[in-house]
Amino acid sequence: MPSDSALPHTTVPKPRLSQQTKRLTLLALLAVFAVGLFLTLGVPSGAWEFALSFRAGKLAGLILVAFAIAASTQLFHAATRNQILTPAIMGFDALYMMIQTLLVFGLGSMAMLDIDPMTKFAAETFVMMAFSTGLFLWLFTAKSRDLHLLVLVGIIFGTLFRSLSNFIARMIDPNEFVVVQGAMFARFNSVNIDLLWVAIALTALTLPVLWHMRHQFDVLALGRETAIGLGLHYRRVMLSAFAIIGLLVSVSTALVGPVTFFGLLVVHLAYRLLPGARFAPTLLASSLVAIVTLVGGQAIYEHVLGLQGTLSVVIDALGGITFLYLLLKGVRR
């Protein structure tokens, strides 16, 4: 990995580095295979042109979502020094939906219709970044807080946001509530293509920042005292981390809706595949795992099993079991 070879005093021994490269290459190949499956599986002859152009848009959306969820989860783990809580478990997708409904409620649905969807999306993302950063800083910069308390508080915040956005949605127009309720399930089979370009642009903004700050995130994961002792500008790095998380959560929620446990699942698979690796290679691994799971899973689900839309439910059940396992394992350690 270039990130590791760029470090002159790296302590990672050579053989592990090559193992890392090997595993990442394997993952990349798997991801390419998954993409191939997604694009070609079950296309009726003669419809290739239509199918490819139709599926390419969905594919781009899914890859974007995979990256956004993996990166936001991993960044959250580094910033909060825990590996159980994720932005999705904390209900930040619900916070985004709450902001969406709040904007409709505040401005009125007629005014919202006049606004260009891209401007609207950008505005929502901005509000989301500000709001979530404030909340994260309040919760996580307190000096010593019990991890279980934080996880519990996070989950209850999730419930609060979900109930609040339900509540506001009902206040707008109870008759249209069904539409909102439909959006409260994740839907991998119908990616919101209209927002694809602005979502790609917003996500692309984070890439140079993530790359530039990758070593700082490694230091951040050592904890507040150590990080400050090592000369890290702690507050500024935390702020950027939480702002990026807010943006990425907005992107993935706007495109497919809320997915509670997906991030936890893929990031922990990446931790297992590259034990002890640094931020950048782990991010590459978790993104690739996310792409393999999401794109490959969707291809198999849609075109082999012929099931619609329940992939997110299966992922959530698996992720919930992973979460229970991590909790109970953490106790025994």
């Binding site: 019990d146 308390l149 519990l152 508080v153 989950i155 209850i156 439910v313 959530d316 229970l324 106790v331």
Partner: protein, 323 residues
């Protein structure tokens, strides 16, 4: 507290006032004079809709608060309740199974299947709790929430495949607007169970001290545990089947009561019952008034209020511990 009897009287008076309000408020106008004169549809509205609804709210509030109290004794943890520890989700899964496989069965049979599933889910939760260390109190609600989430995901998947997704809403969001005469009477079961819970209050208090202590004190720990388990599970199942889950009610009411009253369960039960019924009545009245003529389901309102109070309890506890 100087005169508990006086306080109880005040509490009951405000409960009666709220119940009277609940009888008067609703989408269609109802004139008390017309009821007395026996004119028009007003008597019908009162007898068929308003009285059943108010009774259903009171029964649900009382029984959920008491079963929350008992559940906290069973698990020896203040931050759990049946609606957030897998019991409600198991009951919902049972209801879905009953609807899918025995669509023609009477409601009582469906409810029994839901109750059996609720008992199984609660047993599973208690089994997991045995493996948790006693010095990590916050791990208990976490594991409960996650267990509930996993069972809920299984139920969602099942509902999706069996094309029963619309039934999912029945138990995920509690709502009293569908309560009419003939559709709430099962809730009287919860009232009876709450009464049994009150009679066994002292035994539950002793059980809350732990298995070893309670056996030393001469308690038939196993039997009392099963009585508690059945009261909690069946109450939850009945509430889920008739009105839907109301999260946090069974959690915050016992916590508020124990902050004021201490941990004497027998003294706490009447307070928990009246506070539970009062809180539910108030939230239901708000839900009926705030967006007339539409209604906001009580599960949504209680989700907001309950989550906020629970957060306050959790974070307030933290600052106590620091000081």
């Amino acid at each position: 507290m100087k005169s508990p009897a006086l306080h109880m009287l005040l509490a009951l008076t405000s409960l009666v006032i709220m119940a009277a309000l609940s009888l008067m408020i609703g989408a269609s106008d109802m004139n008390l004079g017309a009821v007395i004169r026996g004119e028009g549809d007003d008597t019908l509205i009162l007898l068929a809709s308003r009285i059943p609804r108010t009774l259903a709210i009171i029964l649900t509030g009382v029984s959920m608060a008491i079963s929350g109290l008992i559940f906290q004794m069973l698990t020896r943890n203040k931050f759990v309740e049946p609606a957030t520890a897998g019991t409600a989700e198991s009951a919902g899964l049972g209801l879905l199974i009953a609807i899918a496989f025995f669509p023609a069965a009477p409601l009582l049979a469906k409810m029994s299947i839901a109750a059996l599933c609720a008992i199984a889910g609660t047993l599973l939760f208690l089994r997991i709790l045995d493996r948790l260390p006693p010095h990590e109190p916050l791990l208990v609600p976490l594991v409960g929430l996650m267990l509930g989430g996993v069972i809920g995901a299984v139920a969602t998947f099942f509902a999706y495949q069996a094309d029963l997704l619309q039934y999912l809403g029945i138990w995920t969001t509690g709502e009293f607007s569908g309560v009419l005469r003939g559709r709430y009477e099962l809730l009287w079961i919860t009232g009876i169970l709450a009464l049994i819970g009150y009679l066994y209050a002292d035994q539950f208090s002793i059980m809350g001290m732990g298995r070893d202590v309670s056996i030393t004190l001469g308690l038939d720990h196993r039997t009392v545990m099963w009585i508690g388990l059945i009261i909690v599970s069946v109450t939850t199942a009945v509430v889920v089947v008739t009105v839907g889950a109301i999260p946090f009610l069974g959690l915050i009411v016992p916590n508020i009561v124990s902050r004021i009253m201490g941990d004497n369960l027998r003294a706490a039960v009447p307070w928990a019952a009246s506070l539970g019924a009062g809180a539910l009545l108030l939230c239901d009245i708000i839900g009926r008034v705030i967006r007339q003529p539409y209604e906001i389901p009580i599960g949504t309102i209680f989700g907001v209020v309950g989550a906020a109070v629970f957060l306050y309890l959790l974070l307030g506890r933290q600052s106590h511990a620091v000081r």
